[in-house]
């Protein structure tokens, strides 16, 4: 075989592999929209997005309002981010800048190992250990609540945030730090005024990736969020985020019935939200990309 033909063939093969994942994504999207859009034949977009009642199986008068579910997803993501961002970014700073190489060699894999914990294990922990503890410690009625779910989700997003931020901080050019130190700045000043600003876009990407992991996570919220389809009114109140609702109800929803379509429409909303998060992450990492030491 001629060398050139071989080259072309290899090129084509790689193109095909890349195209496969694109095609799969496209097919999933088409399917999602095909099954989800019929929802708006029996419920208006407005009633669906802003309806306060989720009673899809009521025989006489079903209600398909996902606002409580949507708000629950938002609240869980927000609270878990509040917990996970400081923890994740600060561990990243420690690992990249402060820890000795020996500590780093042990601590970094450990943080990343947290990411490999199956979510069902984290959920089980929340259900069996944390829920009774919260009930006792705060003297509240329901341990399966917004706070519990957020804490468990924070556990899951810390490794993502820490590991991606750490790479960003580590990638800040050495000359920048050396220049700062040479000008008489202390280690802390260099860290806060030079290294972190230079790594900010990477940290931003890390945070958004962590949040999109939290909003799409299913098992944990199914197990520990409580499952009550009400607007979140306290951090110790039960909620029912969108993924939990889809996972719990899809198996029993009559095939191609109203309930089935409404669940797909909920999945559509969830998909659009995570898509938005990912586009944001991509935008930030491109817009504020650190290109060499000159661009600071």
């Amino acid at each position: 075989m001629q060398r050139r033909t071989k080259e072309t063939l290899i090129k084509q093969a790689f193109l095909a592999t890349a195209a496969t994942s694109l095609a799969v994504l496209a097919l999933i999207m088409i399917f999602l929209f095909m099954e989800g859009l019929p929802t708006f034949g029996f419920v208006s977009v407005q009633d669906f997005l802003f309806g306060m009642d989720w009673y899809p199986t009521d025989e006489a008068r079903p209600d398909y309002g996902i606002l409580p579910l949507f708000a629950a997803s938002g609240a869980v993501t927000l609270l878990s981010s509040l917990l996970a961002i400081p923890l994740g970014v600060m561990s990243a700073v420690y690992l990249a800048e402060i820890a000795s190489p020996k500590v780093r060699a042990v601590a970094k894999p450990v943080v990343e190992m947290l990411a490999s914990l199956p979510s069902v294990v984290i959920g089980f922990f929340g259900m069996v250990v944390l829920a009774p503890f919260l009930q006792e410690f705060f003297d509240i009625a329901i341990g399966l609540n917004l706070f519990n779910a957020s804490l468990m989700l924070a556990f899951m997003s810390v490794p993502t945030i820490a590991s991606v931020s750490e790479d960003a901080i580590y990638a800040v050019p050495r000359e920048l730090k050396e220049a700062s130190l040479a000008l008489g700045a202390t280690h802390l000043e260099t860290l806060l005024r030079v290294t972190l600003p230079a790594a900010l876009s990477g940290i931003g990407t890390a945070v958004i990736l962590g949040m999109s992991r939290a909003i799409g996570e299913t098992m944990v919220v199914l197990m520990v969020a409580g499952g009550a389809a009400i607007m979140p009114d306290s951090i110790f109140g039960p909620v029912r985020p969108m993924p939990a609702s889809i996972a719990a109800e899809m198996a029993e929803a009559p095939f191609r019935g109203h309930h089935y379509h409404a669940l797909f429409a909920t999945a559509m909303v969830l998909f659009l939200v995570t898509l938005f998060f990912n586009i944001m992450a991509d935008y930030i990492s491109h817009k504020h990309r650190q290109t060499g030491s000159a661009s600071l």
Binding site: P56, T57, M127, Q135, A141, I142, L144, A229, H259
Partner: protein, 282 residues
Amino acid sequence: MKRIFAAALSTLALLGMAATAFATDIAVKGSTTVQPIMQKAVESFMAQNKGVSISISASGSGDGAKAIIDGSTPLAMMSREMKESEIKQAKEKGVNPKQIIIAYDCLTPVVNTANPVKNLTMAQLKDIYTGKVKDWKDLGGTPGQIVVVSRDSSSGTFEYWNEHVLKKERVFPGALMQASNGAVAQTVAKNKYAIAYVGLAYTHAPGLKAVTVEGVGGSVENTLNGTYPISRGLYLYTNGEPTGDVAKLVNFILSEAGQKIVSSVDYVPVKAPKGAAKKGKK
């Protein structure tokens, strides 16, 4: 998924019918509640009896009654007894419906073992689940918010509870909707303010205490003698005494193996009360 499987099974059965023209074909019709038992029983039965093909179509007890009256099925599944009017219709057509009870469906309210409440009335249960009563002190318990736990609104268990206890009113939205009997048991075992309802087999799970309803405890005996209010029989109906393969199938369901299937899909067997107690200890 169950429905797809049922459809696939009936298609297979139809194909089988075409292939073996001399084999017996039975089309079972009726209740969706009874369907899980029938589904599993038929699978085992057909594995043992080659040449018999059985299809199941479940669309409700009413359809089961209709099918036995118009003769379109030799075996109907029903989750209620036949009404007087249905029996009358059947007699007019020369059909003599015979009732065979194969299992019970018995739901028991459960609370945490630390909860002193022992008995609740049907009215109180309804008020708890519709959110009218919110504190245990109104029910003679230690003051504290009632944490209402329910099965997801898509489950058959919920449907029955909704029909019998709530009389089709809506569960109040603050109830914790859990996806499985296991999750319900776990939640109640870990929460001293919680109340939930489970199938009889689950009442023995650690940390749970069964509550009597109107002074009657949920048990196999009370289900069998009809005093326990939140239970119902699950029935098969035939035209006269069952014969041939239909009789074989009915006998199989009532046999020890068949009754094991009944408990494996979370219903109360009519014959082997020991099975129910054993299962809950898992």
